[in-house]
C-alpha cells in the first residue's frame, strides 16, 4: 500500500477513537458495517456454540411465522402496547402538567416513586378490580408506562427556566397562557422524546403480562412457550423480531418529531 494511502487510513482510524470527533458519513457507515460483520462472523464461527447458529435461528423464524402465527401475535402485542402507550401518555401528561398547581405536586411525586413497585402483587389487585383479562393486562401496562412517563415528563418540565417564563410574562400572556406557551407547546417535542425512550418499558412488561393472562396470546406468550421448551433458536428469533420492531418504532418517533417539531433538531444542533 502506498505511503500516502496508509496515512489516509491512519487518519480515519484516529478519527474513530478521538474524543468528540465527527467522522464523515461514509467513514461512520463503513465502521458500523464492519462492526456488524464482526458480530455475524463471531456468531457463525464461535466455537463454543452457546447460541443457536444463524441458520437455526432463521429456520425457527420461518417456522414461527408460518406455523405459529408470529406476525399475528406480534400485531396483537403491538396493538395492546400502542393502546397502553396512548392511555399512559395522556395520563402522564395530565399528571405532569398539573404540577403547575402545588396541590397536585405530591401526586406526581408519588407517581414517580411507584416505578419501584413490583407488578406481581399489583396484578392481583387489578384482577380483583377488573372483569376481563384484557383489561387487567392493559391496566398493568398503563400503570407501568404512566409512572415511568411521569418521571421523564416532570424532569422535562423542571428544565423550564425563569427566563423562559419571564419572557412570556413580559408579553402580557398571563400565568396560564405563559405556562401553555412555554411548558406545554414549548416542550412538546421533548415530551415526545420521553415517550419514545420509555416505550421500551412496555415491551419488557408485555412478556410478563401476556404469560399471566394467556387468553389473548401475543408475542410475549410465544416467547414464554419457546423458552419453556428450551427452543433457544425460537427464543432468539423472537427476541430479534422484538429488537427490530423496537428499532422501527424508534425511527417512527424520530420521524414524527422531525415532521411535527422541525425546530427541535435546529435547537439541538445549535
Amino acid at each position: 500500500m502506498p505511503l500516502e494511502q496508509q496515512t489516509h487510513h491512519l487518519t480515519f482510524m484516529k478519527e474513530l477513537f478521538a474524543p468528540n470527533a465527527q467522522p464523515s458519513r461514509p467513514v461512520f457507515a463503513t465502521m458500523v458495517g464492519a462492526q456488524l460483520l464482526v458480530l455475524v462472523l463471531l456468531w457463525v464461527f464461535y466455537p463454543l456454540q452457546l447460541f443457536p447458529s444463524l441458520g437455526q435461528v432463521l429456520r425457527a423464524l420461518g417456522d414461527l411465522i408460518t406455523a405459529q402465527g408470529l406476525i399475528q401475535e406480534l400485531w396483537a402485542s403491538m396493538t395492546t402496547a400502542l393502546q397502553a402507550l396512548a392511555i399512559g401518555t395522556v395520563l402522564a401528561l395530565v399528571i405532569s402538567y398539573l404540577t403547575a398547581l402545588p396541590f397536585f405536586r405530591p401526586i406526581a411525586y408519588a407517581a414517580t416513586k411507584m416505578r419501584y413497585l413490583t407488578l406481581t402483587g399489583l396484578t392481583f389487585f387489578m384482577a380483583l378490580l377488573l372483569s376481563t383479562g384484557h383489561q387487567v393486562k392493559l391496566s398493568v401496562l398503563v400503570f407501568a408506562t404512566t409512572v415511568y412517563l411521569v418521571t421523564g415528563m416532570t424532569s422535562v418540565i423542571l428544565t423550564t427556566t425563569r427566563e423562559e417564563m419571564d419572557h412570556a410574562r413580559t408579553l402580557g400572556l398571563g400565568e396560564w397562557r405563559s405556562f401553555w406557551e412555554v411548558v406545554v407547546l414549548g416542550k412538546l417535542d421533548l415530551m415526545l422524546e420521553v415517550v419514545r425512550q420509555n416505550f421500551a418499558i412496555i415491551w419488557t412488561m408485555i412478556t410478563l403480562v401476556e404469560t399471566l393472562y394467556q387468553s389473548e396470546g401475543g408475542i410475549g406468550l410465544l416467547l414464554y412457550k419457546q423458552n419453556r421448551y428450551l427452543h433457544l433458536d425460537g427464543v432468539l428469533a423472537i427476541q430479534l423480531v422484538i429488537l427490530a420492531t423496537g428499532a422501527l418504532q424508534d425511527y417512527v418517533f424520530v420521524l414524527l418529531r422531525r415532521v411535527f417539531f422541525p425546530h427541535s433538531a435546529l435547537t439541538a444542533a445549535s
Binding site: 419572557h167 410574562r169 408579553l171 414549548g186 412538546l188 445549535s270
Partner: protein, 274 residues
C-alpha cells in the same frame, strides 16, 4: 445644543426596596423618567441605569417590568402613572429569548395579538419585520437566526406589545465590538420609531451606556455618618446625571469626544470610590 424640555413622567420608582432571605439587595431607590420633547423632532429617549456586577440590576429590572413586586415602594408607568403589571413594560433579557417552537413571524404575531385584531396584527408584524430588516426571515425559527437578527427580533417582539417603554437587561454583555455597534444602532432606531418610545438600559458597561443615554443613574452603596457601608444598592441624589443638559447626548460618535471621556473617567472614579 438641541433645545428640549421635559413633560409628563413615563416611569416612576418611589422608595423601591427589595430583600431576599433577610438580606437587603436594593434600598430606597427613587427615580423618575420624564417624557423628553425636542421641537420638530420625532425621537424618544434612552435612559441608563449603571450598576456593578452582582449589585442587583436584574432584580431592579424584574421589579420595573412588574415581574416581582418590591418589598416596599412602588413602580408606576405610562401617562396615567398606574402601578406596573407584567406586560406593561417590554423586557429584553440578556440572552434575547424568543419562543423556539414558533417561527419568527409567529413570535411577533403572538406579541401583536395582544393589542390588535388578527388582521391588524398581521399588518403590524409585516411592518415590524420590514422596519427591523427581518422580512426575509419571517418563516425561520429562532435557532436559524444570526445573533444580530435575534436581537432585533427580541426587541421587535417586546415593542409590539409594550406601551412605548422597553427595558434592556445587560444588552452589551458578552458581545464583541461589531455586535455592540449593532445593538446601539437598534436602540437608536427604536427611539426614532415613535417620540414616546423610551429605552431603559440596565448595564455594567459604563462607557457604552453613557454614550447612548440622555439621562443616567448610577447604582451603588452609600455610607452612614460613621463611614460604614449601608446594605443594599441605591441611587443617591448625586448620582443622577442629565446628560442631555450637560451636552453629552444626541451626538453621533460622542465616545470620541474628549469631554465625554473625561466625564466617563470621573464616573469610573466615583464607582471605584464607592
Amino acid at each position: 445644543m438641541t433645545p428640549y424640555f421635559h413633560k409628563e413622567p413615563v416611569l416612576t420608582l418611589e422608595g423601591v426596596s427589595m430583600s431576599y432571605h433577610g438580606e437587603i439587595v436594593l434600598r430606597d431607590i427613587s427615580a423618575q423618567v420624564l417624557n423628553v420633547v425636542r421641537p420638530n423632532m420625532t425621537q424618544g429617549q434612552v435612559v441608563g441605569f449603571y450598576g456593578r456586577s452582582g449589585i442587583g440590576k436584574s432584580v431592579l429590572c424584574r421589579i420595573i417590568a412588574g415581574l416581582t413586586p418590591p418589598a416596599t415602594g412602588t413602580v408606576r408607568v405610562g401617562e396615567e402613572q398606574r402601578p406596573v403589571q407584567a406586560g406593561d413594560v417590554g423586557l429584553v433579557q440578556q440572552r434575547y429569548p424568543l419562543f423556539n417552537h414558533r417561527t419568527l413571524a409567529d413570535n411577533l404575531l403572538l406579541a401583536a395579538a395582544r393589542k390588535h385584531e388578527p388582521e391588524a396584527a398581521k399588518r403590524e408584524v409585516a411592518a415590524y419585520l420590514e422596519r427591523f430588516r427581518l422580512e426575509q426571515h419571517g418563516k425561520k425559527y429562532p435557532a436559524q437566526l444570526s445573533g444580530g437578527q435575534r436581537q432585533r427580533a427580541a426587541i421587535a417582539q417586546q415593542l409590539l406589545c409594550s406601551d412605548h417603554l422597553i427595558l434592556l437587561d445587560e444588552p452589551f454583555s458578552g458581545l464583541d465590538v461589531a455586535m455592540i455597534d449593532e445593538v446601539k444602532k437598534i436602540i437608536l432606531e427604536v427611539t426614532t420609531m415613535d417620540e414616546l418610545n423610551t429605552v431603559v438600559i440596565v448595564s455594567h458597561d459604563i462607557a457604552t451606556t453613557t454614550a447612548l443615554s440622555d439621562t443616567l443613574w448610577l447604582m451603588g452603596y452609600e455610607r452612614d455618618a460613621a463611614g460604614q457601608l449601608l446594605p443594599g444598592a441605591t441611587i443617591s441624589k448625586d448620582h443622577q446625571y442629565d446628560l442631555a443638559g450637560m451636552g453629552l447626548a444626541w451626538h453621533p460618535n460622542v465616545e470620541a469626544e474628549p469631554e465625554f471621556n473625561r466625564f466617563v473617567e470621573m464616573l469610573k472614579d466615583e464607582i471605584r470610590a464607592a
